[in-house]
């Protein structure tokens, strides 16, 4: 009887020590999980930013390469909607002039984004490169569609919760 009691006491001691050790491991693990969870949440925000800037740059590039003199105002407004700063001003201030040129040349640009990649992205600004393919038709081409591929670089800024293009350049055409 006494022997059995001693045996159970010994088992309780061993279990208690194990509980304490595993509880300590639990606390250390919990702290690591808390830290890792924070890091992963920050990483998720940063990674979702890539998706947002790529979507914004793709939409803006598609607006930029889909211009039709028959709907010139709409085409220009489409580009202006995703633009900001000096780039937007170009479309706001010169839209009448641009419309005239488009109508005179009977310009029709039709295209799509083939690929887009992020060069760099921060909290409030990003640089994206975009490859497009499509056609251009105007009086110079005899109003026949001619294949055109563009390499574009867009600079985007975050304003009012949206990613807007503040600069768009052709890369060494």
């Amino acid at each position: 009887m006494e022997k059995a009691r001693r045996g159970r006491t010994g088992l309780d001691v061993v279990l208690s020590v194990l509980v304490l050790l595993v509880a300590a491991l639990c606390v250390l693990g919990g702290l690591d999980v808390y830290r890792t969870h924070g890091e992963r949440a920050d990483a998720a925000v940063q990674q979702e930013r890539y998706g947002a800037v790529l979507a914004a740059a793709t939409a803006e590039a598609e607006a930029f390469i889909n211009i039709d003199y028959r709907h010139a105002q709409e085409s220009i407004a489409g580009v202006a909607r995703g633009a900001t700063g000096k780039f937007r001003q170009q479309y706001d201030t010169s839209s009448e002039g641009v419309t005239r040129v488009l109508r005179r040349n009977r310009s029709v640009m039709d295209g799509k984004v083939v690929s887009a990649g992020v060069v760099d992205v921060g909290r409030d600004s990003a640089t994206v490169i975009v490859a497009t393919s499509g056609t251009v038709a105007n009086t110079r081409t005899g109003n026949k569609p001619v294949e055109r591929s563009y390499r574009l670089q867009l600079h985007l800024v975050r304003a009012g919760g949206r990613w807007l293009t503040s600069d768009l350049q052709f890369v060494g055409q």
Binding site: R5, L11, D12, S16, G51, S115, G117, V118, A131, G172
Partner: protein
């Protein structure tokens, strides 16, 4: 007295099992939780250092693969294939074997430079990069310049990042 002892052992055992379950859960979260899946909303699911290293590897490998000269054609093919996965290297060898004789006969020199590079999609194991390339072709005394683009896929292997696919656009 004996039932109390028995109960305390049982309680300690239950607490121990529960704590072990918590530790197992923590270990899963820290080391075994799968990486998020690449999607349109989240095209990059890896850290900046990993994707930067991959895009740099894709850029330098693409320059190496696409730049070649009639003077050292075979050596260049050998250097280029060392930057590729086995399956892509086999595909590449077939393509260049068809072009070899004409390329050497025309005394062609091809120089390709990456002028811009961006990440399209990235996980810790596979990265897709968009590259803007400037190609200079010299045939005899004539030199021509062509701007073009390539979508390059690199995969992480024990030998570093290797090119698994290269689509010029």
């Amino acid at each position: 007295m004996a039932p109390d002892r028995s109960r305390s052992s049982t309680v300690l055992l239950v607490v121990l099992v529960l704590l072990l379950a918590v530790v197992a859960g923590e270990a899963w979260y820290l080391w075994l939780r799968p990486e998020p899946t690449v999607s349109a909303a989240r095209p990059v699911v890896t850290g900046q250092l990993v994707q930067q290293a991959a895009v740099e590897a894709a850029s330098s490998a693409t320059e190496e693969i696409l730049s070649t000269s009639y003077q050292d054609y075979d050596a260049q093919v050998s250097r280029a294939t060392s930057e590729m996965t086995d399956s892509f290297a086999a595909q590449y060898r077939k393509t260049v074997a068809r072009l070899r004789d004409r390329f050497i006969a025309d005394r062609t020199q091809l120089q390709v430079r990456v002028v811009r590079a961006g990440v399209v999609r990235a996980s810790s194991q596979q990265v897709e990069a968009l590259l803007f390339l400037d190609k200079y072709v010299k045939k005899g005394r004539q030199t021509s310049f062509t701007p073009y683009r390539a979508l390059v896929t690199v995969v992480h292997t024990e030998h570093g990042w290797l090119v698994a696919d290269l689509q010029t656009q």
